[in-house]
Subunit: 205 residues, 2 copies
């Protein structure tokens, strides 16, 4: 159950707010943003709606705080780790990305799909998040003298990487929704190869 | 100017409705769906709003009719032509797709972005359109014994092609919005290679 344990010690307002945002992110795993109301959070946290309005001002602000935290989590979770080749590091990041989407499906979908639907602040967080995730690829490419990914920092590559992010989102969301018999290993194998695949036409023949 | 010439002969209601839908599609090239009101259409067509409500019932129905027509147009425009290799035919279709998005930018973006935003009927048309466009790739692959595209009809390939459609939309819309110095030729070269590139990881090593 997502119910929080009642705090035994008096928490600072900031710490309390942080804790409520974390709970919101957790709840977003199994329900869409639309379904995540102040009422739901109040019930799950076992505190009054009035107090929540005190912390967040309103539903909109609450959603923005939760989605921003979820985007930060995704960024942290998918950070390159270890010291393998760029392709091995990419494979690790993608694996954690796939698992993140699987474990936070409803919230992730409502972020990706909802970003297109008019809520300007959420759209901005989504854009920032995608930009941060893809920019990081170029940091890696710069650090690595002889990248085997073909990630040279040119306008064409930037454009293709942006498209690749849309490809990833679509494939992973769709796979989590309905795996169609495609295994996690098959999925990861194709995802890792897709970035060099998309960049292949740029290589000198 | 988009003003229609006043019809000299009495048109049947169906023909008149068709003509108004065509005008709507045309207007969608330079304005978003939100900006395409019954009022705008009435002014451009030089007929009364009352008559338009008679033909379409309301703004919602008018939008659905226009977007459906636009989707049909896109399907027709991007149909494979000629008798080249599958890759040559793909190149031709992509070229016409890029030009279509360029020439119908506002409407196309409001379809793609707006599909995510709650309007269920438009979302359906968008999904149908994308499915029709990608299904056609498999018709071609079946017809061609030795496809050089790697489009065998498996769940994994279907999933990747779905992702590729999202990739295409993102790259082309973004390129039309801001070409960043990437030429149409460079763009087309990378787009044509992206499909075999995405499918490359599935090829036996």
């Amino acid at each position: 159950m997502a119910h929080m344990t009642t705090p035994r010690v008096r928490m600072s307002p900031d710490a309390r707010r942080e804790q409520l945002i974390e709970l919101g992110v957790q709840l977003l795993g199994r329900r869409s943003l639309e379904e995540l109301s102040i009422e739901v959070l109040a019930e799950e946290a076992g505190i009054s709606r009035g107090l929540l309005y005190h912390y967040f001002g309103g539903k909109q602000e609450f959603h923005v705080a939760v989605v921003r935290r979820a985007a930060d989590d995704l960024f942290t979770v998918t950070a390159p780790r270890g010291s393998g080749s760029p392709l091995e590091q990419l494979a690790g990041s993608l694996e954690r990305y796939v698992d993140y989407v699987r474990d936070n499906y409803e919230g992730y979908v409502s972020l990706v799909r909802g970003a297109a639907g008019g809520h300007e602040a959420l759209r901005e967080i989504y854009e920032e998040s995608r930009t941060a995730l893809t920019d990081r690829l170029f940091d890696g490419a710069v650090a690595e003298e002889a990248s085997d990914l073909g990630l040279t920092d040119t306008p064409t590559v930037r454009l293709l990487v942006r498209g690749w992010a849309a490809f990833m989102e679509e494939v992973v969301v769709e796979w989590v929704r309905d795996p169609r018999g495609v295994t996690r290993e098959e999925l990861l194998h194709t995802l890792v190869g897709s970035l060099p695949g998309i960049l292949a036409p740029l290589r000198p023949a």
